[in-house]
């Protein structure tokens, strides 16, 4: 079959992949640098073809609560935003986690904190991985490093969030969102029918088949402390199973490497160049790119630490993921940090220079 190849911005790829993968609804609010997602959906009018609902909400708070309710009824729904907008969504994400409701948040990071800048940033690692909402919960966090992965992860996100019944964050950044690349688009998948939703989501609050069952409700409220703890423990068991089975990463020349960069998203794309340059100079350099930021590839990093001399974490932040890398290696090798923040994107040469520091005898 002929491949469907197009040239797209990362944000456009998210939008077009959404209706191709059979998402039922998008609810969002404009914010730079991700407004092309809502704009592309509005231009492509998927409600006339696949029946996907697209709605510009009055705020990010309304958007996430629309996703919450849509997911509660068994529909595959999503929103997208950027750093301060995603901050506003944290309460809703916590509710989704608590009620075990599937739903997708695409977070295209910019420099912060506060209103920050509209230039790219990766300073929302903590926000996504450790949760800005209240309570003990996690989201699965996928970090694409290309426009192709922006499209592909829309399919993976749909699969994982319904498999595990939980919110999922695609944590991207302004570089991946705005840059254009060639993308092989996924074929069209039909949206699920009412019968399929009824069969696959017996927990959903949509009224379907009510006469033959007890009523369903979605609530995170539990006034009995022992019962609340029981719910939390059950969620922790689920999170532990996810940590055992869903870790994803890309190992780039890392398996025999003595010096390893750990980087995700646009930082990984930039760092790849530094790895290649050091390899050409005869240094055993490599890179590990976490694809799932939660669950984090802790075991893989620990394994790499057993045969390398030093690691460097590269991020568009003042240093966030680096703490998870340090925790993973448990002091076995030194872990340095190279970061740019506030919207500054380093050149490959700057990363090369920082990486080379590690190799000094």
């Amino acid at each position: 079959m002929k491949k469907d190849i197009v040239l797209l911005k990362g944000n456009e790829a998210i939008a077009k992949a959404a209706y191709r993968y059979g998402y039922d609804g998008f609810f969002g609010y404009p914010i730079t640098p991700q407004s092309e997602i809502l704009e592309t959906l509005s231009l492509d009018k998927p409600w006339e073809t696949t029946g996907m609902v697209v709605l510009q909400a009055e705020s990010e708070i309304a958007s996430i609560n629309m996703v919450y309710a849509a997911g509660a009824t068994g529909k595959c729904a999503m929103t997208s935003s950027s750093s301060p907008g995603v901050a506003l969504m944290q309460e809703g994400i916590s509710y989704m986690a608590a009620c075990e409701i599937p739903g997708l948040v695409v977070s295209v990071g910019r420099g912060g904190p506060g209103l920050g800048t509209i230039q790219p940033g990766q300073a929302d690692y903590y926000q996504a991985v450790y949760g800005g909402g209240n309570g003990d919960y996690h989201c699965i966090v996928l970090a694409p490093d290309s426009v192709q992965e922006m499209a592909d992860f829309m399919g993976l996100a749909k699969e994982l969030m319904f498999k595990w019944r939980m919110p999922l964050i695609i944590l991207s950044d302004g570089v991946i969102g705005q840059m254009m690349e060639k993308v092989v688009m996924p074929p069209f998948q039909p949206r699920r029918s009412d019968d399929e939703i009824r069969e696959q989501c017996p927990w959903a609050t949509n009224g379907l088949g009510l006469k033959g069952r007890k009523y369903n409700f979605m609530s995170s409220l539990e006034l009995d402390a022992a019962e609340m703890q029981k719910r939390n423990r059950a969620m922790t068991d689920k999170y532990n199973r996810i940590c055992e089975t869903e870790v994803r990463y890309e190992s780039y020349k890392a398996d025999d490497a003595e010096y390893i960069i750990i980087a995700y998203g646009c930082s990984a794309r930039i760092s790849m160049n530094a790895v290649d340059r050091l390899r050409s100079e005869g240094v055993k350099a490599g890179m590990l790119r976490p694809i799932t930021l939660w669950p984090f590839p802790t075991k893989k990093i620990k394994e790499l630490a057993s045969h390398c001399k030093a690691m460097l974490t590269v991020e568009l932040s003042e240093g966030q993921m680096v703490n998870d890398v340090r925790a993973a290696v448990e002091g076995e090798v030194p872990v340095s940090f190279f970061g740019r923040s506030g919207g500054v994107v380093p050149s490959p040469h700057e990363v090369y220079e920082a990486f080379k520091e590690l190799v000094k005898p």
Partner: protein
């Protein structure tokens, strides 16, 4: 002749709606919520659409509404019920989708969601319980608290310079192009309960038939929050709330 012989279905003039669950009542004596819950159960039962109905509960005393009416419910975070309902109705366009909200939820923390859902003309029904106080958290000032009225956070009475003015949110709703039906009712007398039921029925039919947004305000009592006996609370409501929040239709575009 035994009691069973006498109580035959044809002799009954009243029965518990089949959609009311046997849940121990958590509302205070005299509270309006119980009556309104029953009306909702009756209307859904009479319309026969429980398999195509989604209710959205608020945060507040009605946070446990889902325990009483035997339909599928979603518990919204504080104030966000109209956003939840908007999404559900758009994704399930043939369903009855309604929210059940108090004054703090609908007219304070959720004002944005309320106004915008109504202004978009979402095909949803909003049941709005206005008792001019925060009941669940122990009787604090609400956006609809009357001037001079005493609550835990305006213990000397609501004053404009300190607290601003009561919000006429239902009047605002009636000016929005997306609303098709805006009405203010009460459940303090049998006659008013019947009128309120008719209003709820019309709002629910508007949702199913995609006629636009409906808002049914029920001016209500809060005996505990107002620190009055149920009887005194009803009397106080009639004397103080009704002049400020007069009963009747504010807008009904589908009326023949």
């Amino acid at each position: 002749m035994t009691t069973e012989d006498i109580i035959q279905p044809e002799n009954r003039v009243y029965g518990k709606p089949s959609l009311m669950n046997d849940t121990p009542m958590h509302y205070c004596p005299g509270c309006s919520h119980g009556v309104v819950h029953k009306l909702i159960a009756e209307v859904i039962e009479e319309m026969g659409i429980e398999e195509k109905t989604v209710g959205i509960c608020p945060v507040g005393c009605a946070v446990f509404a889902y325990r009483y009416v035997d339909i599928d419910w979603i518990e919204a975070s504080h104030g966000r019920a109209p956003a939840c309902a908007s999404a559900v109705k758009r994704l399930w366009p043939d369903h009855l989708v309604f929210t059940y909200q108090g004054d703090g939820d609908l007219a304070c923390i959720g004002t944005g969601e309320t106004i915008h859902a109504l202004n978009r003309g979402e095909n949803i029904a909003i049941i709005f319980i206005n008792n001019a106080i925060y009941g669940m958290t122990g009787g604090q000032m609400a956006p609809t608290t009357l001037m001079g009225m005493k609550t835990a956070t305006c213990p000397y009475g609501r004053q404009p310079d300190l607290h601003g003015f009561p919000l006429h949110v239902t009047d605002i709703a009636s000016t929005l192009e997306g609303t098709c039906y805006v009405t203010r009712q009460a459940v303090n007398t049998v006659a008013n309960i019947r009128k309120a039921k008719k209003a709820i029925r019309q709002a629910f039919e508007n949702s199913v038939n995609k006629r636009g947004s409906s808002l049914v305000e029920i001016v209500s009592t809060c005996s505990s929050g107002w620190k009055m006996s149920p009887e005194k609370a009803n009397q106080w409501m009639e004397e103080n709330m009704f002049p400020y929040y007069p009963l009747g239709d504010l807008k009904n575009v589908n009326k023949e």
